[in-house]
Every structure is written in C-alpha cells, then in structure tokens.
Amino acid sequence: MWKYEKKLQYPVNIKNPNPKYAQIIISQYGGPDGELGASMRYLTQRYGQPFNEVKGILTDVGTEELAHLEMVCAMVHQLTRNLSEKEIVESGFDKYFVDHTNAVYPVAAAGIPWRAEYIAAKGDVLADLHEDLAAEQKARVTYDNLIRLIDDPDILDPLKFLREREIVHYQRFGEANLTHSNRFIIDYIVVGKGLSKHGSPFEIDSESN
C-alpha cells in the first residue's frame, strides 16, 4: 500500500506560465521515457523477482518515480495556468486544450497518449535490470534535451533535480545488477537450479522462502 504526503519531493514554483514549454515537459509524464512509465515499470517488475535486494530497490525507486510524475504534472499545471485564448492558440497549445482543457493528461510531446508498450516486465532479473538501466539513461537524455530547449531558471531548477535522480537510480540498479547477475547466472543459468527443480524457471525460490 501507499500513503500520500501532502508535499512535492522537490519544490516547483514557476512564476511565468508558458504553454510552449508545458507541451514539451509533459513528455516526462506520459512520453516513452517519462515518469509514469518509470513508476509502472519498476512497480510491475517487482512480482517476478527472486532476490530481496531487487524487490527492495524496485519498490523504493518505483515509489520515488510516483513523486517525480507529480513534480512533472505540477510543472505542466503551473505553466498552463491563467492563459488567454490568444495565448492558447498562438502557442499551439490549442490542439491539447480542445481535448483536455487544463487537466494534465499523460501524453508524449507529439501528442501520443501513454502506452503500456513503453514498459517491459520479463520476470527475469537480468533482462529486467538491464531494461531499467536503459530506461534511466533514456529519461536522463530527455531531461538533457529539455534543459537545452528551456530558458527559465524556475523550470530548470526542478528539471536538474530530476535529471540527477536518473543518474542515482542508474547507479543503484547497476549495483543490484552486479550483485545479482553473477549469482543468477551461476545458480540458474549455468547450474540450472531453477530449471532442474521442477523443470520450470518459475519455480525459482524466493530468498525469503
């Protein structure tokens, strides 16, 4: 279960609305490498994991990603407040506005709604952790691109915080991978421990058993 804390992980306070910036930042909510996909990816992968450290890091990073999507939505919300009809049309925000008004809906910058195909859960510690390492780097590149395109310190500050978190998560997933991939390869792929038990890889015991 989860509990809500009525705060952001890092403050977002944007003085000047800017619907053009909102339209590219929203990709880090509902885009292919956005925070919605990140949280769903890690929280979904948890159930297929044999090792406690991996269950732990997926739970804790997946939970942090929920806080990140809230920060991204806060940015989009603040950037699209108090707009005139003229500003909506001239910024090109009208194409989003006609369907969603001032709601924050998970879409990519080009308008494609969020899709479950953005995430993977293979039920294999090697495959899943490598997916996660790549995901963190792809999200980092997206933040790099946003930082290149945006020129407002109120927006850059939280974006830089979020970019840094991708790097920390990459580091932690890398450590989990180093710790467990050797163990997994020797026990389950070379020795065939999981396969030989009942002839099915799904019988791999959890550490807690």
């Binding site: 509990k3 992980q9 403050p11 306070n13 407040r81 920390v168 932690r172």
Partner: protein, 86 residues
C-alpha cells in the same frame, strides 16, 4: 520561520530516502545505517519544533487534527503555485 523549517524537513526527508535506496544495494553498510539513524532523529526533532510553533506539520488522512477540522482539504495543494510560501 515556517518556510525555512519546512524546507529543512523536506531536505532531511530526501536524505532519508536517498539512504534507503543506498541500503537496498548495500544492506550491510554500518555507516549508512548510522547516518539513517541520525537523520531519522533529526527529522523527529525538526517536526517537534515545527509543531510546537505552527501546529500540525503535514496533515495526513489518519492524523487527529488539533482543531478537530478536516484540514486535509486546505489550500494550497503541493502542485499549486506558492505551496512553499504557505
């Protein structure tokens, strides 16, 4: 001041979270456990200080509020402008 104290608590919250990620992949690190204990202690001191001066720190749905009102609904919400100014 309220804003400074709130900011300090958020910073300590972040340190606690960061240490918990570190401990997920370094579960035997005594140094990280020690730091975690220190930050947890600091957090509870800061929250006591906050509540002594300004009332409930962060209202959650299972808090028994001092006023008996449903303060959960009070503005501003975290994604709104000037949340930190409140």
């Amino acid at each position: 001041m309220k804003k400074q104290l709130k900011k300090k608590i958020f910073q300590v919250d972040f340190a606690i979270h960061e240490l918990s990620l570190y401990l997920d992949t370094h579960p035997t690190s005594k140094k990280a456990m020690e730091l975690l204990r220190e930050y947890r202690k600091l957090r509870s001191q800061l929250i006591n200080e906050y509540e002594r001066q300004f009332g409930d720190y962060i209202v959650t749905t299972d808090d028994v509020s001092a006023t008996g009102c449903w303060e959960w609904l009070e503005n501003p919400w975290p994604w709104e402008i000037n949340f930190m100014e409140d």
